[in-house]
């Protein structure tokens, strides 16, 4: 990223008042003014609706604020409450459960689908489209359909299990099965994304590598192990990072499919934040909880970038 930035403006010198003055006088004056004007509409929105709220969030988390009364500054009290809040730990655990089961299983399936779609055959685009349709379907509608699918008596799954003489579980109404239910639905919906990125990665592997491997007498499995997998690591890395980040922020499917139940079995941190802030109007506590999401996503990202050096081919980190 940094290299890219520098490359775009090789003549740009370090800023400074002198440069600033020069930019507004003489030949460059027009370009400077145009530059700021083109940027202005975007930058105003950026400041009001992104930069300011982020800074504001750090203030809110230090207050006790119900919106009905003015905020009271309480320091780190919200974080003390959090440590002793059983439901916070439960929802944090749920977020991890969901993220670290849904993402690996989803990527595993997406990988095999991408491999299958990478063959030179007719009708591949058709299948690709089918697998991708759930991805663009709104989660609310998808969760609505799946609520019916999971109905213990009339739902599709238990009907089908019935054909094989299996007595299906109560799915979203069972504390043990509720989270797997959400995970299955989310993977049905989200696999298209991982599949598409991995497919693009596969298509980017030069044919010559496989030819060379074949000439050296590599078997199908060896080609997979020593050509496909290493060459696919950048795409895999990308899919892992983005999927982990977005899984940790999932909200819609929980809210519509299970409403966090039964008995908080499917309440992730995002839903717990929502309840605190917009059901109980505890803005300060909600913001403190949100900061945990922020920190965890930051940690996931940093850890992934650090680990990437060990397993991603051609990976160079920007931070050193």
């Amino acid at each position: 990223m940094a290299a890219n930035l520098a490359g775009a403006s090789p003549r740009q010198k370090r800023g400074g008042i002198e440069d600033f003055k020069r930019a507004f006088t003489g030949l460059r004056r027009g370009e400077t003014i145009a530059g700021y004007l083109f940027l202005a509409p975007n930058f105003i929105g950026f400041i009001i609706f992104l930069l300011f709220p982020i800074c504001f969030a750090f203030v809110i988390m230090l207050t006790d604020w119900s919106l009905a009364k003015p905020p009271a500054f309480v320091g780190l009290e919200n974080f003390e409450t959090m440590v002793n809040d059983r439901l916070f730990w439960k929802s944090l655990g749920n977020s991890f459960y969901y993220t670290f089961v849904a993402v690996p299983t989803g990527i595993f399936i997406a990988f095999w689908l991408a491999l299958a779609l990478n063959r030179k055959m007719r009708g591949i685009i058709f299948f690709r489209t089918i697998y991708f349709l759930p991805q663009i379907t709104l989660t609310v509608a998808a969760a609505t359909i799946w609520r019916w699918i999971y109905q213990p008596e009339i739902g599709m799954i238990n009907h089908m299990l019935d054909w094989f003489g299996i007595d299906g579980p109560k799915w979203i109404h069972d504390t043990k099965w509720a989270m797997p239910s959400v995970i299955i639905m989310s993977n049905w919906q989200g696999i298209g994304f991982a599949m598409l990125i991995l497919l693009a990665g596969l298509q980017g592997i030069p044919e010559e590598y496989y030819e060379a491997a074949s000439i050296d007498g590599a078997s199908g499995w060896q080609r997979m192990r020593y050509v496909t997998l290493p060459m696919l690591t950048p795409a895999l890395f990308f899919v892992v990072v983005t999927s982990l980040i977005s899984a940790f922020q999932s909200f819609d499917q929980f809210f519509v499919l299970t409403q966090g139940g039964p008995a908080h079995a499917t309440t992730p941190l995002t839903l717990y934040i929502f309840q605190n802030a917009f059901t109980f109007f505890k803005m300060g506590y909600g913001a403190a909880l949100a900061s945990v999401v922020f920190v965890i996503i930051l940690i996931i990202t940093i850890v992934q970038w650090r680990l990437a050096r060990r397993w991603v081919i051609g990976f160079e980190s920007d931070d050193d």
Binding site: F38, F49, L50, F255
Partner: protein, 292 residues
Amino acid sequence: MANAVKVKDSLFGQKQTKLLMDLLVYVVLSIVGIIFIMPFAWMVANSFKDLRGIYKFPPEFIPEVWHFENYTEAWTATHFDIGFLNSALVAAAVVLGQVVTASLAGYSFARLRYPGRDKIFLLYISLMMVPFTVLLIPLYIQMRAFGWVSTLQAVIVPFLFTPWGTFMMRQFMVTIPRELEDAARIDGCGFFRTYWLIILPLTKPALATLAIFTFVNTWNSYQWPLIVLAKPKVKTLPLLLASFQNQSAMRTPWHLIMAASTFVVVPVLIAFVVGQKYYVRGIVTTGIKGGG
């Protein structure tokens, strides 16, 4: 000689194996495809049944009697006319706003030189990864302060600009050859005319990608509208669909819910099929996740 025969044999064998593998892959792809399409198929099938048909045991896929009136009934019961209007208005405004602000700023970042440009761009990139969960509460308090709660401004104005869209535009515009612009500049075009006549037409694929992504994301958006839109007359489709199934009824009206789901899903499916090329390219080049 013997070797040549052997090679020929193994080639023949390979061809056979490939055919067999292809067949196997088709079978697997089809089975998975059926699993993926099944929920949609049942949604449509159930939307034409009556409630008794849905509860029937053993279940039947094709309805015995086609109840087309489910659609009109669901439509009026949920005030979907208002929802459609709201959703369409919000999506159109946000798409238009993002395309304009992102392309203008993208041009500014990619081509014009002025002090502080790269620092501002770096700030954009670093804030791109802030999770929306963190913004919910401060943004809601802001909307209250503006008096925008339960107005459509609350779901439009904060989303008229986009850091990742700006980033995408900038990255795309950097790759446009400078010569084209230089020629226009020599011919006396100002910066805006250069942007309008040279840069924008060349940026069409990226603009299409941004537009279709933004459309799908805005149309599907649920969490933020759920928080800021409380009054019925400003509700968007996902909100109406979700609240429709939570309305207490003796028996959940699954047939109407399925009909309602069908016509909420259809516009995005159309948008996707029409703009699939741009959508897929957008995912592959920027890795931004659309949809849910």
